[in-house]
């Protein structure tokens, strides 16, 4: 506890306890009680909660690069989507002969396009562990190449933000193309099973919720540890005075690259957990707007705190679910308004507000 500095941190501890409760109590209740029991949560609640937790993980990954290293990455959604596609490819290959065309090897969309054999980059994705490696490796590799070029040329600030938007937009256009071999416009869907379990089953949904929660808790603790290491302090120093850090003998570009790649890998994991719970991955996940929304979650929750990103992601997405159910047309206006209000009146986000309240109640 001391290592990650949680003992004295009430909000962080509370967030951890709530996360643990959600990710254990709900799945356990659902697995142990019959469907008509009052302790039984609906399949809808379970899958929506699971989705929120993957978004929280995604927000966490952005907070690491933006809140701690000052890199306003507006393409975090790209890494999320790539992780999602890697998982989607595994799930597609699990369909086997149960597809509409019943081809044992080729997914339906390839048969439809008259493809005769599986493209080389689909090989190996029938193996779950291979797919899991790809979930972190592909986003990590893209972040590495992109970051290597950008940080070495000392591209910073708005310019970096714009090229990250361009990156995710370019991927959006690429994945839309049928020739890319990722299902084009429709993406990957109609999944049947995950590791032999029916993907529609309530039991699997509960387990996925639990895995999402446990992953989020583990990554949260890992990130807490990370920002409390010397590397975390160097990264914070880079955020505040980049050139000064260079004169202390640190290779700033390597530190930025490190944290950027690490964060992209977390985003990839979030995407991989998201896809089996929503049952589809398509190019719209690459849309620049998605990446902007992640920034809004983190800004509303509170930057540079890690749990702020979790709180922000869950609250904004819960509001989205409720509001788009009631009045879909006002959602984007509400989101924009809240973002402006938070930026102007709560620069430290909701977490900053909570902290101030806590301090006041102490004194």
């Amino acid at each position: 506890m001391k290592l990650i500095g949680l003992g004295t941190d009430k909000i962080g501890t509370t967030v951890l306890i709530v996360l643990a409760a959600v990710s254990f109590i709900i799945p356990v209740c659902n697995l142990a009680t019959p469907a008509d029991s009052p302790l039984h949560f609906s399949a809808y609640t379970v899958s929506v909660l699971g989705k929120y937790l993957t978004f929280a993980l995604l927000g966490l990954s952005l907070d690491l690069v933006w809140g701690y290293c000052g890199i306003l990455a507006l393409g975090q959604g790209a890494f999320f989507a790539l992780g999602g596609y890697a998982m989607g490819m595994y799930l597609m290959r699990q369909i086997g002969t149960r597809g509409v065309y019943g081809d044992p090897l080729l997914p339906d969309f390839m048969v439809f396009l008259n493809w005769k054999e599986l493209p080389w980059y689909w090989l190996g994705f029938d193996n779950f562990w291979f797919a899991l490696v790809m979930v972190v490796l592909v986003p990590g590799l893209l972040a590495f190449v992109f970051g290597w070029l950008a940080f070495r040329s000392r591209v910073t600030g708005v310019y970096l933000s714009i090229i990250t938007q361009a990156l995710t937009y370019a991927l959006l256009l690429a994945f839309f193309r049928n020739e890319m071999g990722f299902g084009g416009n429709n993406g990957l869907t109609d999944f049947k099973e995950l590791l032999g379990f029916n993907i529609q089953s309530e039991a699997l949904r509960s387990v996925l919720l639990m895995i999402s929660g446990v992953t989020l808790i583990a990554v949260f603790i890992l990130c807490r540890w990370l920002v409390n290491t010397k590397l975390g302090r160097v990264v914070t120093a880079i955020r505040d005075q980049e050139s000064r850090v260079r004169f202390l003998g640190y290779r700033v570009e390597m530190f930025k690259l490190w944290i950027f790649v690490f964060s992209a890998m977390i985003a990839g994991i979030a995407g991989a957990l998201y896809v089996p719970q929503v049952g589809i991955i398509n190019p719209s996940e690459f849309s620049p707007l998605n990446s902007l929304e992640i920034v809004i979650w983190v800004a509303i929750g509170g930057r540079g705190t890690l749990y702020g990103a979790i709180i922000g992601a869950v609250l904004v997405n819960y509001s989205k679910t409720v509001l788009t159910g009631l009045m879909p047309e006002i959602w984007l206006f509400t989101l924009g308004a809240v973002f402006v209000l938070v930026t102007v009146f709560l620069p430290d986000g909701l977490v900053g507000l909570m902290r101030r309240r806590l301090q006041e109640s102490h004194s």
Binding site: K230, R244, R246, L248, G249, V252
Partner: protein, 274 residues
Amino acid sequence: MNTFAENLFGEVPKVSSGSLVVEGELDTRHGPILYLEDVSVSFDGFKALNHMSLYIDAGELRCMIGPNGAGKTTLMDVITGKTRPDTGTVFFGQTIDLLQMDEPAIAQAGICRKFQKPSVFDALTVFENLELALKADKRTWQTLFYRLNGEQRDRIDQIIETIGLTACNHQRAGILSHGQKQWLEIGMLLMQEPKVMLVDEPIAGMTHQEIERTAELLLSLQGQRSIVVVEHDMEFVRSIASKVTVLHEGSVLTEGTMDEVQNDPRVIQVYLGG
């Protein structure tokens, strides 16, 4: 006085090295530790440095004075790798070509800098600021798993005491006064155990007492580190300098003791106009 420096650095390495010339290793047998020859830098036609040549001896304490725009800060930018000169050569000892190196490499080679505007990390504590500056392996993975050992902890505590910030040890640097930030940055410089210290306007915003202690500290380091101080305050320069270099319009106008320099008619003309 001597023990003051010994306290700071413990074992002070000899500045002059062995007899073999090794490429990439600091070689100061010929005296100077920094060689700048015929260095020119221009920004949009303005010549910030104009064919400047300058030699700093190993272990010497040199003061640089000169009116605004004389090129003092540009000079430091060139030495630390922030600015690339258009022409000229810059060598660290006999063998190390600084123009082939970037800022982190130059810092790791042992040339460290205090900025004109105090540049400390506001979000980190005094202790953490010094920890980041501490001479160590500064690659990413090594930094991630870095643990201070007892000796290093003691050294940081020692420096904190030297710079008079013991009481603020665990406070964020952002709340320090201007003078305290100056001292913290000097402390960060000391943590790096540099061979050459470039100190840009160290006493701005300091109280009289703090100024005296700064002079004391710089004098105590003389002989072990080469120190280049840029300062406007003539009284301060007089109190520390044995040798003063006057810069004017990007070149060295004259060099000598404070008295020689102050009586040089060219210097008087530059400062008083005319």
